[in-house]
Symmetry: C2
DNA sequence: TTATTTACTTTGACTATCAAACAATATAAC
DNA sequence: GTTATATTGTTTGATAGTCAAAGTAAATAA
């Protein structure tokens, strides 16, 4: 159990620095790419929902969104039913960044699992499913 | 492969927010606890080595260490062989914080693996070993 | 119709961070 | 041995990310 614990921590740390270096290459910040990621994988959403998913306040998000709009990665549009709300979504440039980042992730997953046999990958997949459910 | 990739990303995100909430309870910042973690698991070391392990500059570390010393969590002591260098190490209070944080990690590992049978845990452990080697 | 809640923005303060300039010491070149 | 170069750590100035609190506008409840 202790060794598994240490392996998980090591895995997390390595993933963390991998992410940092991959993000640095894009020229955008970690927070900015993370915002693009969430919008890319879940689609357009309101400020409040996006802030919750990013675990930041809407105040912080407002200034982040200002920058991303200026960069041409996202757009604000009015919410149809609720005039207090604003829909935030990716531009085509934002989508391109998301796709690029996603490809990097898939490539990493392929790289780190290349010495695992099919059975291990199956067990690993099922184990991650079960673990993710327990958080 | 895609589903495993998504599971890894989900796992990382959940671990990330778990860490954030656990750290918040200590009253110290993420960066501060991370510094304590590295010193706790690797023992005393020079500023440069610590900065490298934390992936920050020595300039950033200097101010961080100032604060942690003020909090009574770490101490600076002269390096025996190299008078340019300084050894940074945990106080007993720092060690207590490290132990507490470590216990939380072990508890988490136990919690998220409680529905895995022994064979899965074995495969999972070996798979993490192999994956960590490939980064 | 009024009171309360919700969504977003703005502002002020704080922390983490880096790059660059600096001082002290160690190491390499000659 | 002396000089030149590299390394270690600190300081300083600038920037980004963050929150809490106050403010505005709109939706919902009383």
């Amino acid at each position: 159990m202790h060794s598994l614990n240490n392996l998980i921590i090591e895995f997390y740390d390595k993933l963390s620095s991998w992410e940092q270096s991959v993000v640095k290459d894009t020229g955008y910040s970690l927070a900015q790419v993370h915002t693009i990621e969430v919008l890319g994988s879940h689609g357009s959403m309101r400020m409040k929902e996006l802030a919750d998913r990013l675990a930041i306040t809407t105040g912080t998000l407002t200034v982040q969104v200002d920058k991303l709009v200026k960069f041409g990665l996202i757009t604000r549009s009015p919410h149809e039913d609720d005039r207090r709300s604003i829909l935030v979504g990716l531009t085509s440039e934002g989508m391109a960044l998301h796709k690029h980042h996603n490809r990097m992730h898939i490539q990493l997953t392929e790289d780190i699992t290349r010495h695992l046999d099919q059975n291990s990958i199956d067990v690993l997949t099922k184990s991650f499913e079960k673990m993710n459910r327990e958080f």
